[in-house]
Subunit: 212 residues, 2 copies
């Protein structure tokens, strides 16, 4: 898979490194090729590619917008043609105190879908901390990735990218449910930061064969 | 523990039966002692007690309001003195299509706390289906009960009542976080009903010793 990652911060950098280790082709699209994050990533893995945002969008079949949610709309707007691409939104529209969602009746994912005509938007990778992505095994259990989106095939592709890095996948239905996943992220943040459980936590949906 | 359960529907009936089996004293407070739910419960366990709402409130050290969220405020209002009692709110303020929360900037639990002066309100038992409460074991894992409230001792008591019936407990902090748990219930409902996973599902917070 060819993956364009917009942003080279914690989430984008971590996912890009791991996907490259799993033999996907990865190009980071950034505003500043001289930034410390870019230098560090380039030193860690010589096979990672770097370009500007438009180059990374043109490169990828899958595009991950791993940038602050407040920059997403402007960045999508000037990203070039996203039509036909699978666009992953891992952001959370948090208020500055990290206690609430700043968008009241919609989600970042739905806003991206409104802007990027023809793109197949999938909400994913937003309900867990960036560092936790490095190890998704908890004893005998794998952390769950909760994803949603309107295109079934795109969700399957993102699901495989998630399985590649250690997740089990829970399909939460259509993109209209992205707000549920943004709320789940709020709970993760509350537990990790305020309740001081730290980043070594992840949600799992327990299941068993039907009893009822 | 003496537990007053307001309502004899699925959630109240199930919890009351199990707590009685664990040797707690249980009185149901209902409007109609002749209802089918009450008759069925009374036949299943002769040691369950029944009374009107005021009697159940006077009886219990812990009071569970297991009634539709639209009736909670009126019922709390005419429940007599709840001061000093531990009040458990297991409700979810769902819109009729079960897709959204009907309260925009608060939670049922916070509304109960506003009305019932001196009561120690704990949000609990709202993030899982009533039937699922009968068996909280999923392979080698126990389902988690996510609870929040402002009084630490009350949360410990509710946590013990939850452990009694098979849950592990995750403390989500103050009652101001009740809305996070109501949103978690939305996700459970979406997965169980719309995504057709059925009621044999439960959330678990995976944890491990610190790596980071």
């Amino acid at each position: 898979m060819k993956i364009g990652i917009i942003g080279a911060g914690d989430v984008g950098g971590t996912l890009g490194k791991i996907w490259r280790q799993r033999n996907h082709e990865v190009m980071f699209g950034v505003r500043n090729l001289q930034s410390q994050n870019v230098q560090t990533l380039a030193q860690m893995d010589k096979s990672l590619r770097f370009g500007d945002i438009n180059e990374a969008v043109a490169f990828g079949d899958v595009i991950l917008f791993a940038i602050p949610w407040t920059s997403v709309e402007e960045t999508v707007h000037r990203s070039g043609n996203l039509s036909g691409k699978i666009v992953i939104d891992p952001t959370n529209p948090l208020t500055p105190d990290l206690k609430q969602l700043a968008l009241k009746d919609t989600s970042v994912a739905e806003r991206i879908a409104d802007l990027a005509k023809g793109a197949k938007v999938v909400k994913a990778f937003n309900t867990i901390g960036a560092k936790t992505l490095n190890n998704l095994i908890f004893g005998s259990e794998r952390a769950d990735l909760f994803i949603c989106g309107d295109d079934t095939l795109s969700k399957r592709v993102v699901g495989e990218l998630a399985t590649d890095i250690g997740f089990d996948v829970v399909d939460v239905g259509s993109l209209a449910n992205a707000r549920m996943l943004e709320n789940l992220a709020l709970l993760w943040i509350e537990l990790a930061l305020r309740q001081q459980l730290g980043p070594n936590i992840a949600f799992k949906l327990l299941r068993r064969k039907a009893e009822f």
